[in-house]
Symmetry: C2
Subunit: 150 residues, 2 copies
């Protein structure tokens, strides 16, 4: 019973911590994380299409990997389907309702992001180019499903 109460308290505290985050901050943080990933994708693109610099690609791939594994799902709080962070959110309602598809795109993205970091560390330009293409597909797929086009 004590264990159950502690577990319950744990949930309450976690819930409390999440509740303390303002919706506009949650939206701002996720926009920021995606923007940092966009910067990093651009860096990898420049390298695989031009002069390949192993260190540049490692740095960029590590940023994407860390954000892919950061648990950004926590930033999709109830009440953040509309609202402004840095700008008005472009998330589609399906992000909050289609758990199955969200799970699929998240899993695909995480897998390819982890693989990108692995391939970057190995330093082969052709392999990095191929993996970058696979990773880009998972970005595009998620945008198609869950991001409102401008």
């Amino acid at each position: 019973m004590k264990k159950f109460m502690l577990a319950l308290l744990g949930i309450t505290l976690a819930g409390g911590a999440a509740a303390q985050m303002k919706p506009e901050d949650a939206i701002k943080y996720r926009q920021s994380a995606y923007s940092a990933m966009s910067w990093s994708m651009g860096r990898i693109k420049t390298n695989v299409e031009g002069t390949y610099n192993k260190d540049e690609v490692i740095k960029a791939a590590n940023v994407i990997q860390s954000l892919a594994n950061s648990g950004m799902g926590a930033l999709y709080l109830p009440g953040t389907d509309k609202g402004k962070g840095w700008e008005e959110t472009r998330v589609k309602p399906e992000m909050f309702t289609n758990k199955e598809l969200v799970g699929k795109v998240a899993t695909d993205f995480n897998r390819e992001a982890n693989e990108m970091a692995k391939v970057a560390a190995a330093g082969d330009a052709a392999a990095a180019k191929a993996q970058f293409s696979k990773l880009s597909e998972t970005c595009k797929s998620c945008h198609d499903d869950f991001k409102i086009k401008k």
Copy 2:
């Protein structure tokens, strides 16, 4: 001579890639990276001050570490001392002139961010709290030197 010419070409290409980034994008990317770090620092704070969740702290510390090592200096392009990314930049002119101090705060931050990730992986809550404090000091120090207060 050929080697020299290729090296020169490399520099030109790198310069070209950097030149292709619009100043407003560079400002937006660095604001985004700092905001993702702010989210992550908040997560660690919640954990070291409340119920400690090892995985949460690892995820957050890895984001900070990857961004600390990402080479964000490249986002302080000439012409980005003023201008708007997500919002008007709050960088002080000293960021572009006091190379020595920039180097010092960057080195301090990187060292403590790498140590934070190491301590997080080990999973000791007290050690994480102590390291979080050290890391926070390097954030504050850089803000004092290079960020205009609101």
